[in-house]
């Protein structure tokens, strides 16, 4: 019985591969055959009974945007009959309303090519009533009120101004805080017949407008009219990129879920696979316009008026305060205030007689980001042609829009001290100061304000402009004292060495003298050696006194080396004679020591040699 059961099971399992080997089939379905513009539907192509298949890669239908989104595998088993299916998914985005036919698609399988049935998709108008998609224009379907997402506002506080007067302008761009938005382009301000100041970095704040919270970006700038009349300022235009959530679609039953089972195709993902991903949309922002009236400047402007409109002050300074005729003086004029500084030019000198002026330089330091107020400094170089006590006043004119009249600022006179007479001119005295009187040329004849004559002497050619210490010969010459220094060191070292040798010799003699005197006092040696040692002491003492070698010292040398009386001299001579006699005659005084009287006599004699 048990064996039969196993046999049945084996046969049943063996039947499964047989079922898998059935002829493959293909089915194409749409998740919904009815949809709206910009509302995507899903196309699924299901291949059953084949392990591999090549789905169509490009399905093109005019008015529909169809993209392959992926494939999945499905294993189904019913009554021990297993089937394998491959499902290829496509997203169809209707771009316009109408009835569209998706043509039969060919799927390549191992068993051959399979063809699907044609499908029909009815696309109706969307909620905005648009018959075509807005994706091509601004990147996505628009069913959201853009005014609740972003806004642009232009604030012009002054609607009446004069030509050239700076009018502050504020541009406000708002972004709904519940969306992720950023400024993609702009803002740009349309203002014909106006010049616009630079736009600094904006300020950001959060404001509530009509119950909606906005992130507001505020740009500040200023405009100035080039001519009079009535003009429209604006609109301000900008482009924003806003991320908005996708709209959720209706969830119908899967056509594969015939029996209401939990068909994987019935997952919400297949309703709209992009529903969880917000889409980015570009929104054009545009503000209202503002009417501005520009009045012309009054006639009869001052001569020093250069177009400055606003309210300004003037301070001046000069450096140095003490100079010679012809020396440059730097006059600094500082204009500060509020107005169109681009039209503020250097002040003019009230009376420039006796002065030589040079074009000034200018430097502007704004006090705010826009440049409405600030300080403009001018530095001009003046050189006095004659004695002056002060730099004349500087004039600066501007139009005050509040007082509605021209104002001319006069600076104070700047006191200075100019020394010296007329500018120096070369004279004959200069020529006579020359060490080498040149040969004067008759033409051109020197005038009072003319240059001096040619120098026609035979030129002394030079090789270089370099100063002497940059020339190789200069450093080559330094070798001479260097060699002399080395020679000096060598000479002095040798001298010192020689001096050292003599000193050592003398020290050795003194040491030997001391040793011998000790021995003589002990008197332990026999007479011949005792007298020889005594003689040696006399020779050493004489050598130390006379700076002569001790071996060359004889009795007369020793006698003459010291101031001795006759008796001592005789005893010195006797000492030499006695020593020679003992050394050369061979006469022995025995092996005993020298007697005390003789020893005392010898020692007294030696001590007296100093």
């Amino acid at each position: 019985m048990f064996r039969r059961l196993i046999l049945v099971m084996v046969l049943a399992l063996a039947g499964a591969p047989i079922a898998r080997a059935d002829a493959p089939t293909v089915t194409a379905v749409l998740t919904s055959s009815e949809t709206e513009v910009d509302r995507p539907v899903q196309l699924r192509i299901k291949v059953t009974g084949d392990s591999e298949g090549a789905p169509p890669t490009d399905i093109s239908v005019d008015g529909l945007e169809i993209h392959f989104t992926g494939q999945s595998q499905l294993v189904e088993g019913r009554n021990f009959h297993f089937s394998y299916s491959f499902i290829y998914s496509y997203t169809i985005l209707p771009l316009k309303a109408g009835t569209f036919t998706i043509p039969p698609q060919t799927v390549k399988t191992k068993s051959g090519n399979l063809r699907t049935e044609a499908l029909t998709l009815n696309v109706s108008l969307n909620g905005n009533g648009t018959t075509s998609s807005t994706r091509g224009r601004n990147g996505g379907g628009s069913t959201i009120d853009e005014r609740k997402l972003v806004f642009a506002d232009l604030v012009v506080p002054k609607t009446t101004a004069y030509v050239g007067e700076l009018i502050p302008v504020e541009i406000r761009l708002g972004f709904n805080t519940r969306t992720r938005a950023r400024l993609a382009e702009g803002p740009s301000l349309t203002a014909q017949s106006f010049t616009t100041q630079r736009m600094p970095e904006p300020q950001q704040s959060v404001e509530t407008v009509n119950g909606v919270q906005f992130q507001v970006v505020t740009f500040k700038t200023a405009i100035a009219a080039a001519r009079s009349g009535k003009f429209e300022v604006g609109p301000v235009e900008a482009k924003a990129l806003v991320q908005v959530p996708r709209r959720a679609g209706s969830r119908g039953r899967s056509p594969f879920d015939v029996f209401g089972m939990n068909d994987p195709f019935n997952d919400p993902f297949f309703q709209d696979p992009f529903a969880g991903i917000p889409e980015q949309r570009q929104i054009d922002m545009k503000s209202q316009t503002v009417a501005v009236e520009i009045k012309p400047l009054p006639p009869n402007s001052p001569a020093s008026f250069s177009g400055a409109v606003g309210n300004f002050g003037l301070t001046t300074d000069v450096k140095p305060k003490k100079a010679q005729i012809g020396d440059p003086l730097t006059v600094t004029a500082v204009i500060s205030g509020r107005g169109n500084f681009d039209r503020v030019n250097s002040p003019t000198i009230e009376d420039d007689r006796g002065w030589h002026t040079y074009p000034p330089s200018a430097k502007f330091q704004p006090d705010d980001d826009v440049g409405l107020s600030g300080t403009k400094s001018f530095e001009m170089v003046l050189t006095p042609n004659e004695n002056k006590t002060a730099v004349p006043p500087l004039l600066f004119s501007y139009f005050d829009p509040l007082k509605e009249r021209y104002i001319t600022l006069n600076s104070e006179k700047l006191p200075i001290t100019i020394e010296g007479g007329a500018a120096p001119v070369p004279s004959a005295a200069v020529a006579s100061a020359s060490n080498t009187p040149p040969t004067a040329q008759p033409t051109p004849a020197p005038q009072a304000d003319d240059i001096l004559y040619l120098l026609t002497d035979r030129p002394r050619w030079v090789q270089s402009f370099a100063p002497v210490f940059e020339r190789p010969v200069f450093w080559a010459v330094q070798v001479v004292p260097l060699l002399a220094l080395i020679g000096f060191f060598g000479w002095k070292s040798r001298q010192r060495r020689l001096a050292n040798r003599e000193g050592q010799q003398r020290a050795a003699w003194e040491e030997e003298t001391a040793e011998l005197q000790k021995k003589l006092r002990r008197a332990e040696d026999p007479p011949d050696r005792y007298f020889a040692e005594a003689l040696r002491v006399v020779q050493l003492k004489t050598a130390l006194a006379r700076r002569v070698p001790p071996n060359t010292v004889d009795a007369e040398t020793a006698v003459s080396a010291f101031q001795l009386d006759d008796e001592k001299r005789a005893r010195v001579r006797e000492l030499f004679r006695q020593s020679d006699e003992l050394r050369y005659s061979g006469r022995q005084n025995g092996h005993g020591a020298v007697n005390d009287a003789m020893r005392r006599e010898v020692l007294e004699l030696i001590d007296s040699l100093s």
Binding site: G326, P328, T330, H356, Y358, P359, S361, A362, K363, E379, V381, T383, A423, P424, V425, P426, S427, V430, A431, A433, S434, N435, P438, Q441, P442, T443, P444, D449, D450, I451, L452, Y453, L454, L455, T456, D457, R458, P459, R460, W461, V462, Q463, F465, A466, P467, V468, F469, F474, V477, Q478, P481, A484, L485, F488, F489, K492, R496
Partner: protein, 249 residues
């Protein structure tokens, strides 16, 4: 061997004879330029003097005469430049000093303000200070060496040593101040007309100072076709590099 000896001998003889010949030719050119100047042919005189300068036949007289020739042609900038060069070679040339002052006054050229050492230590030239520094240095070295070998070092010798060191150091300081001052190696003269010193290396940059031809500047650095320079009135700015020439060649 003999041929090689002859070759060396000929080369040496050529070298010895070329220099005097070139100098003789330069003197001929100089005389001709002087003649052109005297005849009122100033442009030809300029060419003659300039050919000498190009051939490195430099002399204070040549530069002075070239400055005169440029003055006659109305080129005040180059006239001042060549007077400055004449004075760089011979700082005591009175004619160049007088003409330089005259042309500067006429052209309204701006001058750099001299530094303190230039105002107070100008009794010697840079070369003279260099020689003084070298002599004082070596004397100090020898005094020091002699004191090294002395057993007793007299105070007088120490004083002399300190004095020599001070002279050498002061001379080096003066040389340094002169070389970085208004007569130094970086000083240039504006030769082009309508030169404007600017805040940046662009023609559209703001103007710092307008420099008449002949104005003194000190070139601090060069970037491409622009030179950054110290200007009169303690200003600094960028000028076109071609608009000024260094005094020292």
């Amino acid at each position: 061997m003999r041929a090689r000896f002859l070759l060396v001998f000929c080369a040496a003889a050529l070298c010895l004879t070329t220099t005097p010949r070139a100098e003789a030719q330069a003197e001929t050119t100089f005389a001709k330029a002087n003649a052109d100047y005297s005849a009122g042919h100033f442009a030809d005189a300029v060419k003659g003097y300039e050919s000498l300068v190009q051939a490195h036949h430099w002399s204070a007289n040549v530069f002075y005469d070239l400055g005169n020739a440029y003055f006659r042609t109305g080129d005040f900038g180059r006239a001042i430049l060549n007077y400055e060069r004449a004075l760089a070679l011979n700082p005591t040339q009175p004619e160049a000093q007088a003409n330089l002052r005259l042309v500067r006054d006429q052209s309204r050229a701006l001058e750099l303000a001299p530094n303190w050492p230039e105002e107070h230590l100008d009794f010697l030239t840079t070369n003279q200070y260099a020689i003084v520094a070298a002599v004082a240095f070596w004397l100090a070295v020898f005094v020091f060496a002699a004191m090294f070998f002395m057993r007793r070092r007299p105070v007088v010798w120490i004083f002399v040593l300190l004095l020599l060191c001070a002279i050498a150091g002061g001379s080096v300081f003066a040389i340094s101040a002169f070389e970085t001052g208004t007569k130094g190696r970086d000083v240039a003269i504006v030769t082009a007309p309508k030169i404007q010193a600017r805040l940046a290396t662009a023609e559209s940059a703001g103007t710092v100072l307008v420099l008449p031809p002949g104005s003194e500047i000190k070139i601090l650095s060069t970037r491409g076709a622009w030179s950054y320079a110290a200007l009169p009135n303690d200003l600094r700015g960028w000028i076109p590099a071609q608009g000024a020439e260094r005094v020292r060649l």
